[in-house]
Symmetry: D2
Subunit: 383 residues, 4 copies
């Protein structure tokens, strides 16, 4: 049972069989705050893996499925059927399950990017979810407490009118051609499974979503230069983007999977005419905040600041005791649980939606297109 | 069910009612890896709080107790009774429950320090646990992956013969006299509930345990200077200790609750004749490692290093995605679950034991005694 | 006298009267290693300031000039005339003095950017210096020891084939419109005195020169988006540039004078297929160096590394004792002194030249042009 | 000539011949701000080295001496004789020259520690300098701008009543026994030349002086544990000291030359009942300042802060452009020049004096004595 006395939500999972990374992360996120019980799954398209994985996770045999369609049907029919499902398959396998479960009246928690193509993303928007089934896109970095605080600081006017945004997400794990044994690398560098974007879809979209979440700026157009540095690689592994926002602010976004020495260097820096903010995911419990003409301040997660931390920040333990990636991820899960239970109207405006997913696809698509057109400025509205 | 297909362990809790901090932390730790189900509790000594708290946590009414003695008796008698219990009460209330549950054949997970007095700690050592019931002391910082790696590096000889250890744990939350509304501060500054040590028992003992865990050095004697800076405070809020170890190494330990600007500044620095290590809890996914005459290296949790990470490190997510305090805490829980299930012989030598608890009390007692004797060197063996 | 027994070089200065910033810096740089004696000056175009300033600096009256033309003539005619001159006037006043002194056979040390316009820069290239008078452009950041080491690491192949370069120089001092009393701001935001570029000429050109110096990459083309955020400002105060290098490497460059919280945030990050380097001017005695698949190493100025530090690094004091901006600046001066004395053939290839100055102007001019053409890729060769 | 129009002070040097480290540093410090001209020297006790070194530094032959006594006599007799002398010999060779020059009416700039023994230090105090000749002890770290600011912040009450001071100076260069070719190591580990203290005299005394300079606290007593870790070494290479100050504040001081990975890790942390300060020499342009209950602020050298920087801070270049060790050293030289010229009454109270030197010797002597007496608390007043 959840900490607040509410009954746990019955959860299913599509994808996430033995050896999968992100499915494991979703399960921890679902457990951490005690709001979910995993009771069903179509964990792999390979029946034997699905069964073995389900057994290991303690699912009862009749709720281990080998097809998501069957799972959606069967679970919707059970009185104790799942109330929500987590979709943790490769990108091209998001659309089908999302549609099936929403139309079955089951809430959907979907990994990002929302789909492999913008067409699929738009089709998803047109679906009529049964019984008001809701959708959560796990742009998990938006769950970091200081990211929530950054958003509030911007909204409060503490930075003044925004001028410049610098976003980056740099890794090095694809510096060399991936071996055949690297499942994670294999599908992420395969256009059939990832879509038209490589690094831009896998991590650029996280950086983009984060800057949008915190600043609220609307993107007008992008000018992009995408590169595949590793010989033979079909998708970009390094991304340079310049951005123009409505109202005149400007931005740069760098995403790379070949930046030797970077692990998960997601960083956001925002400057307005009154103040500046800087945050890095690799040490996420600290954020620089400067008011023009005053010394830099190092804000800490849940630490001293004039404005009390918002409930939405979900600070579990005192400042100085670090929380991390899994807690941020869990915050999305637990606040979505509140939304499902009808307790979370405040959270609803914070959690990443289908519309965010579509906009992420616009960003990917416009960037790819711009890059193909010699970096011509390309409007998001035009793709 | 746990990720590996094992059945979840049925868990009870003593203390940890509504508003308690450390009980909440223990519950997250128990849930995170999916190895436990909380099914019973004596969550408060006040019956109405116990009931309300138990209800909020979804315990069935017949397993909400108002006395731990009753709980030990009743749960031991049930076929579906708890297999393990978490004791999260103030220090002076550790001994009683620990004894009761161990003698009832129920595994005990006990917050630190083990007891309020060294006499109690020694009495605990003499208890005959029924059915081989096991005991875990939650010196949670030992669960940090890089702390495990530090221990392995030291043991491997990478630092050579150890010479100097610098340990510190600095906070500032007790800089001013605690208000009446601060429950956490109230019992921690009260000798009746905390024992003879203030900062030294609350956080000094963490720093001490950590240096012992990583270095394996045996402490010969301490010379201490304890101070209560805040007027009217009965227990030390700042601790200076010099240490002498068997074999000639020397150390310093600083613990403070009045160091303005420090949140949970637990830091460990170790130097041998071949290398040095430095780690800080506030950014725990990084550790400095220097081989003499070579550049400093920044090791990352689960990141690149010549030696592969040990299984005991329990790295859940890739390097660069930060894990924190709760994950380290959860590692103690999940590895103790493995021990309970008989799968964890490798973990048993790593998890903090009753003997560690007794030694922690020796450290506290010897330090207090030294401080009372004008910092005279005081042997741990003599207290 | 210099530390090595050589006679000091007789130095003059154009610009740098009382209250000027960069002239003062040049004088410290000239003194620090003992290679120069300042003996003449045309320190201001206002005669009374020139006299007062010259007197304060101890110049004898007959060597205080009010026009650089006169100074060049008179000094060239004296048997004890200056051997070198430092030009520290605003950008549009570099060309005239540089020409005059070179043609008078006097070595020139010139602040950057070389001139206010690319036309002037090219005319400078065509000058025939008398008696082989030499020219030094004070791109002072190239004098930092770790920048020299970075250059050697790249040249040695330690990073492999370069792929990505991220350069930035962010400040915040022009966040608001400059008051009339701010001389520094006044000429830097005035096209008549600065040339067509604002931030791009003042600091972008430093970042650009630095990346060129360290990587040796040749720039093919730039795509730029320049903005003047402060109302009424005529020159850019924020600069976004994407770069394409010969051989396929890509880069981004950000320069800003409105990034609240940044003081002199000059930063260079370089990634190849074997390794990565990261350096920041605000803490210049440290540099990250990562070989792919190994832990990050923190190199220190003059500290441990497999390759011994090159003489060109000019490390004056042991690692851990910080050197800074003035020492880097002084290194240019003292190595140029060696060149003047005929001892410095090794240094000659390292010190920034007139050709570097012309290329810097190409960068500025191409970026301004690209920005005016909706960020169209613009070849440096075409401006 | 100095920047302010004053005539340069004629300077001599004792010690500092070719290959000497600290003499070279003193010369840069003397040159940097333009306040001195080196015109005479007894640079080595070996005549041929003295001559060669003097020649390299451009001294005229008749002012190259082979004995300091002769130099004091001769220079005092010359109309153009030196006005000040820098003493940069090993510790045991400070007393003789200091006495000789002071009694000859020549100002003395002396490296630290003041002498090799406390007896010598006290004898120095009794000397009657001719013509009011003044004495500067180059505790150079007191010249760092942020150290000056720290002192002002403490004095202003911004930290409230001081409680805890943590000082440390850790290096690793003596981790192994020094080879015969290491001149620096040789005299520093030799009691005949260094005095009774090793690390404590060489670097512990710097840390101690710095904490005294900034806090103004008076030391009551020390409890020390000194160790020589390297086999065969006669002097301590690691120092642990606990301190008690008048008024009740407490401190710890750690100095080490065997802390692998540390270069010149001089660090000062100060906590009062209202605020805290933290500063580290290896990145000296930044200082943490926290007011209790507010976010940490990162002050920068010359950067934004409510109180304008004091003139005594001697900030030469804008914040964000790092200054370092040599600039701090030069500040002592240039402010002593002002004192010599009679312009520097404000500086006189800031510059380290003979009394500071004596107290430093008391600290060394009391610590050595305490360590020999099983760390018994030893009063500085009693040695």
């Amino acid at each position: 049972m959840a900490e607040n006395g509410a009954k746990r939500i019955r959860l299913g999972m599509v994808g996430g069989g033995t050896g999968a990374f992100i499915g494991y992360v979703h399960r921890i996120a679902a457990r951490l705050d005690g709001d979910y019980d995993l009771v069903a799954g179509a964990l792999s398209s390979r029946p034997e893996v699905a069964k073995e994985s389900g057994k290991n996770l303690g699912l009862s045999e009749d709720r281990i499925y080998t097809s998501y369609e069957e799972m959606a049907r069967a679970e919707a029919a059970r009185p104790d059927g799942i109330q929500a499902v987590s979709i943790v398959t490769p990108n091209h396998m998001h659309f089908g399950p999302a549609k099936a479960f929403l139309e079955a009246g089951i809430h959907v928690i979907c990994d990002k990017p929302i789909t492999a193509t913008i067409e699929d993303a738009r089709k998803l928007l047109e679906i009529q979810p049964k019984n008001g089934a809701k959708f959560l896109l796990t742009h998990n970095y938006t769950g970091y407490p200081l990211i929530r605080q950054a958003r509030e600081l911007v909204a409060s006017g503490a930075l003044g009118k925004l001028r410049v945004v610098q976003a980056e997400y740099a890794q090095d794990w694809l510096t060399e051609a991936a071996g055949d044994d690297n499942k994670q690398a294999a599908w992420r560098t395969d256009p059939a499974r990832s879509g038209a974007g490589g690094a831009i879809g896998d991590i650029g979209t996280h950086a983009y979503n984060l800057l949008r979440f915190v600043t609220g700026l609307k993107t007008e157009a992008v000018s992009a230069d995408l590169t595949a540095f590793v010989p033979g690689r079909q998708l970009d592994d390094n991304v340079h983007v310049m951005l123009r926002f409505e109202g005149g602010a400007k931005g740069m976004l760098w995403a790379s999977q070949v930046a030797v020495g970077k692990e998960n260097g997601l960083q956001l820096r925002i400057y307005g005419d009154k103040g500046g903010l800087e945050w890095s995911q690799e040490n996420p419990n600290y954020m620089w905040f400067t008011e023009f003409g005053k010394p830099r301040q190092l804000l800490t997660r849940g630490g001293s600041i004039s404005v009390p931390p918002a409930a939405s920040m979900n600070v579990r333990i005192p400042s100085g005791h670090p929380e991390g990636y899994l807690e941020a991820f869990a915050t999305l899960y637990s606040q979505f649980a509140a939304v499902i239970r009808g307790e979370g109207s405040d959270f609803e405006r914070l959690l990443p939606t289908m519309a965010d997913g579509v906009e992420g696809m616009q960003f990917i698509t416009a960037s790819v297109k711009s890059s193909q057109n010699d970096s011509r400025w390309t409007r998001l509205a035009d793709v």
